[in-house]
């Protein structure tokens, strides 16, 4: 037996199919190869550095203080992007608003992703009645018009801070994640490695976390990236309609929302246009990165 095994060891060398790329490395490699995505990523990095860096030197209270002597100033050396109807510096609001919007977008995406992951994994892995029960609830809420329900919710809650606002948004956003994860888990569950783990004595929790989850990471990363863009858009949209934060806590949507005043829209572009363009640029960049990641997970579309 020993001799035979040794002879075999010489005979059967694992075929070396070049270096083995792990999930993360493939994603990173694809991202760097995709010029558009790489530029988008650098641009996003720049925005984040500028926004979070500059906002360190800005005092939110100072920025949102009403100054009646400087209403609707066009851009000047003092006010780089002019002032709004309260004489508040638009540039300062833009930076702080971007910081708030990005923070909310990231927190909501992470929270919704986490809840969706847990629920979807449990529903998909156990299947049967557990799955039926969970998916019935999820399907019901997914059909409903999200914007309206959140608006009503925001009105009910009398006062909220950033965290509570994130929780409100999350409570309606985890469901689509749960649905995605569940369908992928259902597919994975049918593969023999899951059954093999059970025969090897691994517990359900261990199989879910150690076996199934690693096979879902790339999908989770892609889907979270794409929904980060969506969530920043949603938060801006809600603030735009006036159901985000009060004006003392600026958001990009608040600035765009000033354009609901026709005169502002028509003749005071400096108030709403920069915020609009910033939202658009960020969403476009995040989507570019997300699409590149998506291509990376689909071997047929890889660049090499």
């Amino acid at each position: 037996m020993k001799e035979m095994a040794n002879a075999n060891a010489e005979l059967i060398q694992p075929e070396d199919y070049s270096k083995s790329p792990s999930g993360w490395r493939v994603l990173w490699r694809e991202l760097v190869r995709d010029k558009v995505a790489l530029v988008s990523l650098l641009f996003l990095g720049l925005i984040i550095v500028v926004v979070y860096g500059v906002s360190l030197f800005l005092d939110q209270k100072e920025v949102v203080k009403v100054d009646l002597f400087a209403l609707y100033q066009p851009p000047s050396a003092d006010f780089w992007l002019g002032t709004d109807y309260g004489g508040r510096d638009v540039f300062g609001q833009l930076i702080i608003g971007a910081r708030n919007s990005i923070t909310i977008g990231v927190v909501v995406t992470l929270l919704a992703g986490l809840i969706g992951l847990v629920v979807g994994l449990v529903a998909g892995y156990f299947g049967g009645h557990v799955d039926n029960g969970i998916m019935r609830v999820v399907d019901f809420f997914i059909i409903l018009p999200f914007t309206m329900i959140v608006i009503i919710f925001v009105t009910i809650v009398p006062k909220y801070n950033i965290i509570q606002f994130c929780l409100i948004m999350t409570s309606f956003l985890w469901m689509s994640k749960a649905r995605l994860i569940r369908s992928k888990t259902l597919q994975e569950r049918e593969l023999e490695y899951v059954q093999a783990s059970r025969t090897l004595g691994s517990s359900n929790l261990r199989i879910m976390v150690m076996e199934v989850l690693p096979n879902l990471t790339s999908i989770i990363i892609v889907s979270m990236t794409l929904s980060l863009a969506g969530n920043i858009g949603l938060e801006s949209g809600l603030s735009f309609l006036g159901f985000g934060f009060p004006e003392s806590t600026p958001s990009l949507g608040t600035l765009v929302g000033y354009a609901r005043n026709p005169q502002t829209l028509e003749s005071r572009w400096w108030i709403w246009l920069p915020a609009s363009l910033l939202i658009l640029a960020m969403m476009l960049s995040i989507n570019n990165v997300g699409q590149a990641l998506k291509r990376a997970t689909d071997a047929r579309q890889r660049k090499g």
Binding site: I143, P145, I152
Partner: protein, 308 residues
């Protein structure tokens, strides 16, 4: 479907209960003394347990009585019926424009993939996918409404046009820009879907067989590929409704278009909660019905999917 609407109505009712104030808060003369107020509450059943109140509300709603708007001092049903046709026309125009734009673009993009036109169309869908509707709406209004002055910047009809052809034309004129704004963003997913479908179908064995039989290129596309790719799009019609509802809330506020979405926002701001709940209920029912319609169409189109 019925249980879904039932649950929706309970959820909305409880939300309404949780909102600050009740049906009397806005109605009553502030000089009224607290005792009379309490008596009035008792008489209106506002002290009953919630399920009794819910039952009163839902049985009235089923008969078309959704309560009164304290802001407009009129029955909610009447208020809504003034607005609902505007939103219906807007939704219809959006749907028509969406399909008029999306189907040709999707077909061109899929049939001639990786050509110059396909790149242009794909670039457009890329940007459209990232563009939030409210920003696009604002830009459209700013550019076509204010800068070029081609379209009206608010309202649903010219007040001077009261009847006949002029009235209809004015209506169409007013809803064109909002509908176009929603449609141009709404087409993105359909174009992308159609493009991918056509490119996928092109390489399927039955298409190769059709070509091998000697079918002309146009016949291959018209009889084999499009039939396969367009049917699912018909089925998504119902799901579009949820998207449209979200869209009208934004678009109607931006274009000052007096429809249900604008009514919803105005009522929320004005704390007119009987209106808020009624609008939300109607929109919710519309979404649920839309999903059901999609399920049914899918079921007809694709025999592999059956309603369980």
């Amino acid at each position: 479907m019925i249980p879904q609407i039932f649950i929706l109505s309970i959820v909305l009712f409880l939300m309404a209960k949780a909102m600050p104030g009740d049906a009397l808060t806005g109605l009553i003369d502030p000089s009224l003394d607290p005792d009379a107020l309490a008596a009035m509450r008792e008489k209106l059943g506002l002290n009953n347990p919630w399920y009794v109140q819910y039952w009163d509300w839902i049985s009235n709603a089923a008969q078309g009585d959704l309560g009164n708007s304290f802001k407009y001092k009129m029955p909610v049903t009447e208020l809504i019926s003034q607005r609902v046709s505007n939103t219906l026309w807007l939704a219809l125009a959006t749907l028509i424009l969406t399909y008029l734009i999306a189907i040709p673009l999707g077909i061109i993009s899929g049939r001639y993939n990786d050509t110059f036109f396909d790149r242009i169309i794909s670039g457009y869908t890329y940007i459209g996918f990232a563009m939030p509707l409210f920003i696009f709406g604002l830009l459209m209004l700013w550019f076509f409404g204010f800068y070029l002055g081609w379209f009206p910047t608010g309202g649903s009809v010219n007040p001077r046009a009261t009847e006949g052809v002029g009235y209809v034309l004015s209506k169409i004129y007013h809803l064109l820009l909002p509908a176009l704004s929603m449609a141009l963003i709404g087409v993105v997913s359909t174009v992308q879907y159609l493009r991918n479908e056509i490119i996928d179908t092109k390489q399927k064995d039955f298409i190769i067989t059709a070509r091998a039989k000697g079918a002309s290129e146009s016949r291959v596309y018209n009889r084999h590929i499009f039939r396969n790719s367009l049917l699912p799009i018909a089925a998504f019609l119902g799901f579009e409704i949820t998207g449209l509802i979200g869209g009208t809330v934004f678009i109607e506020s931006i274009f000052a278009y007096p429809g249900m979405g604008q009514l919803f926002i105005q009522s929320i701001v004005g704390r007119d909660f009987s209106v808020v709940i009624a609008v939300a209920l109607l929109f919710g029912i519309a979404s649920i019905v839309g999903a059901l319609i999609s399920d049914i169409i899918l079921n007809i189109v694709d025999p592999r999917i059956r309603i369980k």
